[in-house]
Amino acid sequence: MKPVHYREILETRPPIGWFEIHAENYMGAGGPPLHYLETLRLDYPLSLHGVGLSLGSADDLDRRHLTGLKELVDRFQPGLVSEHLSWCTAGGVFLNDLLPLPYTDESLDVVCAHITETQDFLGRRILIENPSAYLAFKASSIPEPEFLAEVSLRTGCGLLLDINNVFVSAENLDFDVDAYLDTLLNTVPPGAVGEIHLAGHHINRYGTEIIRIDNHGSEIREKVWALFDSALRRVGATPTLIEWDTDVPALATLIAEAGRAENFLKKFQGAAKAAKKEKALAGVG
C-alpha cells in the first residue's frame, strides 16, 4: 500500500484481498500514516514486510529496530510478517538495499540465529523471502535453494517465495528456475511457503549482455506469470502480493494485476474451498 493511494483506498474500499506495508514506513511515533493504517486494518487483512532487520548481517540485530517491529505487530496483528534473506547494515550503517549474502556455513549460522532471535522476540513465525541477485560471491559453497530450505528447517520459519526474484536471479546468474523450485520445495515441509510475491523488473544492457533489475516499477512479465503458474502447481493456492514500488501507477492498474493473479490462484484452490467462496488471496503492496 502506497501513501498516494491512501485516500482512494479508504473512499472506494476496492475488492483487494489484503494489503502489505513496509514496516519501516510506519515506525514514526504518530501521524497520518499510522492513522490511515489503523483505518484500513479495520476492513482488510494486513501483512507486515520488513526491509531493515538485516538478518544476514555479521552485526548483532538492532534491538531498537526489533522493538519497533514488535510494537507494530502487537498493535496491528498482521496475518503475515516477513523479512529477507539478505543484509542491509554493516558497522551500524544502513545502506537501504537488500544486499546479497555469501552462502557459507558461517552465513547459515548467522541467519538462523537472527531468525530464531526475531521469532522468539515477536512470539511468532516469520516468512523469509528469497532475494534478487545481481552477483555471486566466490565464497558461496551452498546453492541458494538448499541454503533457504536449510534455514527453514533449522528455524521453523516459513518462506515468502518471490517469483520475480527467482526469475531475475536465474537469468542474471544463469541457473535453472525449475531446478531451483524443485530443490527448495522438495526439501521444505508442505505449507512452508506462506506467501508469494510478484513484481515487474527492468532490463539493463551492458553491450551485448543484459542484466535484469528487480525495480518493482512495471507490469509483471509474461515469463514471470508462467513461473507463478508453475510454482502454484507445486504449492497450491497461496496468498499472493503484487509489489509496485517505483513509478507507482493508478490504483486501478494494481487492482487489475491482483485480479490476474486471483485468476491463477482460483485454478489451484480445491473444489471444497472454492465452494466456500474464500476471500480473495491476491493483495497489493
Binding site: G28, F94, D97, K138, E209
Partner: protein
C-alpha cells in the same frame, strides 16, 4: 575465505566509499564485470536515499534544481549515512550540513529553509495528542490561571530565521508562485510548526507571542509567561492571545502547580 564481517565491511566500503578493489575480488567473474554489478547496488543505495531526502526536502530540491540537489545528497549521504533503518528519521542533519557546504554559501537562507522542512516532517510523524479543549480552561476559576502552566502540543516545533523563510517556503509549494520576488532583507521569521490533528500548519509568531510560548515551553506559569510577553510589547493582550492559541489547538495539557505539602 573471508569472514562474513570482513566481506560486508568491504562491500559497504565499495558502495559508499567507491573503492571497489577489495569487493571486486570477492565476486565471481563473468561477462559483466564485477564493478558493474557492484554499481547496481551503489545506485540502489544512493538513488533510494536521495528519493527519501527529496520527499523530506521538496523546497530545497526546487530551490537548487534536481541535478544540484542530487549532488548535494550524494555528499550528504557520504557524510551522514543513515543509522536508523526507518528512513522516517533520515535527514535531520541536512540543515547543519548545508551550513558547512561551500557550494551553497551564496544561498544563506538554505539551512533555515531545511530546518523548516525538517520541522514539518518531524511534526507530521510526531506522537499524536488530543489538543486541549477551550472548555477545560474556561471551567477554571480565573484567579487560579496565573499559577497554571500549559504544555505545548506534542507536535509543536519552533523555527526562527533572519530570512523570510515562510514566504520562500510558500512560493515553492506545488501550488505556490515560484516567480514571486522575495527580498532577503525583508526581515526574518519566527515560526511555529504544529500538527494538532491531521494537517501540519506553519504559523507566523509575533515577538510577544514568541516570548509567551517560549516561556510556557520552558516551564513558566501563565503569569510569568505573560510578563515575558509584556516585556517585548507592553500592549500585549494576554486574554485574546490565549483564547486564539487555545482555539487553534496549540496546547495539550494544563499543568497544575505542585501543592505545598506543608500548607
Amino acid at each position: 575465505m573471508p569472514a562474513l564481517a570482513d566481506l560486508q565491511a568491504d562491500f559497504r566500503n565499495a558502495v559508499l566509499g567507491g573503492d571497489d578493489a577489495r569487493a571486486v575480488d570477492l565476486i565471481v567473474d563473468s561477462a559483466i564485470p564485477a564493478g558493474k554489478r557492484i554499481q547496481i547496488h551503489r545506485n540502489n543505495t544512493f538513488i533510494t536515499l536521495t528519493e527519501s531526502l527529496a520527499a523530506v526536502y521538496p523546497v530545497i530540491l526546487r530551490l537548487v534544481g534536481k541535478e544540484f540537489f542530487e549532488a548535494v545528497c550524494r555528499q550528504f549521504i557520504l557524510a551522514h549515512p543513515p543509522r536508523n533503518r526507518s528512513l522516517i528519521f533520515y535527514g535531520l542533519d541536512m540543515a547543519s550540513f548545508l551550513e558547512s557546504f561551500p557550494p551553497v554559501n551564496d544561498l544563506p537562507y538554505l539551512p533555515d529553509v531545511a530546518r523548516l522542512e525538517w520541522a514539518w516532517h518531524s511534526a507530521y510523524h510526531a506522537a499524536d495528542a488530543i489538543p486541549l479543549a477551550p472548555e477545560r480552561l474556561a471551567a477554571l476559576d480565573p484567579n487560579t490561571l496565573p499559577a497554571l502552566g500549559l504544555e505545548l502540543h506534542s507536535t509543536c516545533r519552533f523555527v526562527s530565521s533572519q530570512f523570510p523563510i515562510f514566504r520562500i517556503w510558500r512560493a515553492n509549494q506545488p501550488d505556490g508562485d515560484a516567480d514571486e520576488t522575495i527580498n532577503l532583507a525583508d526581515g526574518g521569521d519566527m515560526l511555529m510548526v504544529i500538527r494538532p490533528l491531521f494537517n501540519v500548519q506553519i504559523r507566523n509568531l509575533n515577538p510577544p507571542e514568541t516570548a509567551f510560548l517560549l516561556a510556557l515551553d520552558g516551564g513558566a506559569d501563565l503569569g510569568h509567561a505573560a510578563e515575558a510577553a509584556l516585556r517585548t510589547d507592553p500592549a500585549f493582550n494576554i486574554r485574546d492571545t490565549l483564547r486564539d492559541l487555545i482555539s487553534s489547538q496549540t496546547f495539550a495539557q494544563i499543568i497544575f502547580p505542585r501543592e505545598d505539602p506543608r500548607s
